[in-house]
């Protein structure tokens, strides 16, 4: 049966769209853009900010086009004098409660409010707000909230509740006193926040920003007594370009390496290499659990946001978590032991910096359980893709002009399996590539396409000698929660589950370049970034972690067996159940 369609006119143009389409999307289908502020497709569709209003013939008042469905014969005007005037006034009122320190605001080059003011032709501030003072909440390791810049669009709230099922922030109180905060206005570090940063990338203004750790990195680089090592995560190489004007989904690995060398880092290693190492350990752990009656399903532990969620919201699943440290932490652990030994450097003189798509990594580097037997923390400073772009710009590096560089040896060779760690399904596929060979010998498939793609939950079964291995993949904590509910009440049975905290995986992490709501709503940002990672995987000569010559050397010269004593000491960790809510003891 043909899909039901609706005919209407927008600005005098005849439009035919499927029933149920919003005016906003119907207008876009004929090349008409309606400005928005609170709208974030699939996440925040509440028609609250009134920036997207349009005139509908016969309607008593202007309607919010982002949520208003089309109907047969509707006559819409998106650009009348009345509409333009209403949008301007609404924006002026929103601005009257927004502290405008645009010159020094971290978001000034990509602020949606600033763009709107430009677009709507606000050329003077009629309702001054000099009385607004900063309202800084910076208790969490990863973010700073300044409610004096909040426009109450609720995009962060929806991201926290709907995408992540965590729900630590909500609008509190009412009227002029309305503000976004946690229950009892507690500081974020006293709540069940998992540090995923999805609120930051949902925010249209500078109200939510990442906690900038670049000053610590500059200080380390300026200190001649320190040996400063850096390593970027898989997902960073396909997103850093966005901060420098390159299209979404451009792989800039070579330029990224050169930029890091030119910033003055002593060594540039690759987290992809550590991802291969993770597969050796995690694959071994999985086979051991599978063959020796261990706790199944085993669940991946690479995503610190997910790990923290598990510890607080699903502590009964802690025995299912892989004991493997994340690739970031494995790399840091190898740098401060294996590399330090090979290079003859005291590990205490090494400053390990990681560049991550992730804000929860800032929390992970502080976790005491990760400390090495030699007393060092594996990673000292974790900065996000966005923070690195600030360093690159500050250093005057013309990113687009940089020649391609090479990772430094010892921890710089990786396989396609390591590369795809940055996308949902990638860790699972990388593990399957190695596990299947271990079980069935050479000649196994390399591609496991069933676990790829941007679906929130993916399932597959693979027939390996002896048994079928049933796997599931979830990204975004709301999807993970739904999947785990089914596992816990016995509706679904798996051997191995991959969970990434952010929807789409690390490519869509809270530390990644912010894209405006318009781009996020109408472009498959995560899909484009993922495509670049899978392309790199396809182009690599080696695509299975255990084929990585540097990894083979690490086990031969240093660690011994995967899952062995030394590997456990350096590359594994444990988890701590935590109470979700912790009221004060009075």
């Amino acid at each position: 049966m043909a899909e039901k369609t609706v005919n209407l006119t927008i600005n005098g143009l005849d439009v035919t769209v499927p029933a149920g389409t919003t005016i906003l999307e119907a207008a876009r289908s004929v090349g008409i853009r309606v400005p928005t502020l609170c709208f974030l497709k699939g996440v925040n569709e509440i028609g609250a900010c009134r920036i997207c209003v349009v005139e509908v013939k016969g309607a008593r008042s202007l309607v919010a086009s982002c949520v208003y469905p089309v109907s047969e014969g509707m006559v819409v005007n998106t650009n009348s004098e009345r509409v333009r005037h209403s949008r301007q006034l609404t924006l002026e009122l929103i601005m009257s409660n927004h502290r405008m320190d645009c010159l020094t605001c971290a978001r000034n080059s990509h602020c949606e409010l600033l763009s709107l003011a430009n677009e709507l032709g606000i050329d003077a501030v009629r309702y001054a707000n000099d009385h607004l003072l900063p309202q800084i909440e910076d208790s969490a390791p990863h973010l700073i909230r300044d409610n004096s810049k909040c426009v109450l669009c609720r995009r962060c709230v929806s991201a926290c509740h709907k995408l992540q099922s965590v729900g630590v922030i909500s609008p509190n109180e009412r009227g002029f006193r309305t503000h976004i905060s946690s229950a009892y206005d507690r500081n974020l570090d006293e709540t069940d926040c998992v540090s995923c940063g999805q609120c930051i990338v949902a925010c249209p203004t500078g109200a939510l920003t990442v906690k900038d750790d670049t000053a610590k990195v500059w200080a380390a680089l300026n200190d001649p007594t320190k040996h400063v090592v850096v390593a970027p995560a898989p997902a960073v190489r396909v997103t850093e370009g966005e901060c420098h004007g390159l299209p979404i989904g451009t792989n800039v690995e070579g330029k990224l390496i050169t930029a890091l060398h030119r910033l003055g880092f002593d060594k540039v290693f690759d987290v992809d290499t550590a991802a291969d190492l993770t597969i050796m350990e995690e694959g071994t752990e999985f086979l051991d659990r599978l063959q020796n009656g261990g706790v199944l399903p085993m669940i991946t532990s690479c995503s610190p946001g997910w790990v923290r969620y598990c510890e607080m919201h699903q502590p009964e699943l802690i025995p299912n978590l892989s004991s493997c440290k994340s690739p970031q932490q494995m790399l840091g652990s190898m740098v401060k032991t294996y590399y330090a030994e090979k290079a003859g450097i005291d590990p205490k003189d090494i400053v390990m910096v990681s560049v991550m798509p992730c804000t929860a990594k800032k929390y992970e580097v502080q976790r005491e359980e990760q400390r090495l037997p030699n007393g060092c923390m594996p990673v000292d400073i974790s900065i996000t893709t966005r923070e690195l772009s600030r360093m690159i710009k500050r250093a005057g590096l013309l990113f687009d002009h940089l020649p391609d560089g090479q990772f430094d040896p010892l921890l710089g060779v990786s396989t396609g399996a390591g590369t795809i760690f940055g996308v949902t399904g990638g860790v699972m596929e990388a593990a399957l590539r190695t596990v299947s060979v271990k079980l069935a010998g050479e000649g196994m498939q390399v591609d496991f396409r069933e676990v790829r793609g941007m679906k929130g939950v993916k399932e597959a079964g693979y027939f390996l000698p002896g048994r079928t291995v049933r796997v599931a993949v979830a990204s975004g904590l709301a999807n993970a929660k739904a999947l785990l509910e089914r596992v816990k009440n016995g509706q679904a049975h798996y051997d191995f589950i991959e969970i990434m905290g952010c929807p789409g995986g690390c490519i869509n992490g809270g530390g990644q370049p912010t894209q405006s709501a318009e781009v996020r709503s109408f472009t498959d940002v995560a899909g484009l970034r993922a495509k670049a990672l899978y392309q790199q995987d396809m182009d690599m000569p080696l695509r299975r972690s255990h084929e990585n010559p540097e990894i083979q050397a690490i086990y031969r010269d240093y660690l011994g067996e995967p899952g062995g004593h030394k590997a456990h000491e350096l590359l594994h960790t444990h988890y701590v159940p935590m109470k979700k809510y912790r009221p004060d003891q009075i």
């Binding site: 509740h161 729900g167 509190n172 229950a183 206005d185 709540t191």
Partner: protein, 164 residues
């Protein structure tokens, strides 16, 4: 601001908690179940203790922040228990034009608490009220059932001392 976290210890009994949990179990998963649960909590405890809201949040699988968001929106909910002596200062129109805001400020200073909250020892709670119908006595303050009228801020100290 009335909806600040209380400084008084939680004194909920196992019986009270059980009553709340029974109610929560019956209403779990119901659309719009948050409001009745908040009202029940306030009915049982007299206010919304964080400890009780946590029971509701976990019992209904609703984030605590959502409960707090709803509760802080409506004036009918209180995050503070009432003190042994409930002090109210009328901010109705007549009292207000006669300077009751200054009286309220003097009470806040004397008790060392903000309007809407309670002293640490639980003896005094302070609220601002709308018109209590004693406009002829404006500005008016009540302490429990006692009414004090035609007040000036400097009288507040001596009146409250009687209850201390």
């Amino acid at each position: 601001m009335p909806n600040c976290k209380t400084v008084v210890p939680y004194r909920g009994t196992p019986e009270q908690e059980e009553e709340l949990l029974r109610f929560v179990a019956e209403h779990k998963g119901q659309p719009g179940g948050v409001m009745p649960a908040l009202q029940k909590t306030q009915q049982i405890f007299g206010y919304l203790p964080e400890e009780a809201l946590i029971l509701v949040a976990e019992g209904m699988d609703v984030p605590l922040s959502e409960l707090y968001s709803v509760a802080s929106f409506y004036a009918q909910f209180s995050f503070n228990p009432k003190g042994e002596h409930q002090v109210s200062v009328c901010l109705g129109t007549a009292c207000y034009v006669k300077g009751s805001a200054d009286v309220l400020e003097a009470v806040e200073k004397k008790l060392g608490i903000r309007t809407g909250s309670i002293t640490r020892d639980g003896r005094f709670s302070l609220d601002a009220t709308r018109c209590i119908g004693a406009c002829g006595l404006a500005p008016v303050m009540t302490v429990g059932g006692d009414v004090y009228g035609r007040l000036t801020p400097d009288q507040v100290g001596a009146i409250l001392d009687k209850y201390m």
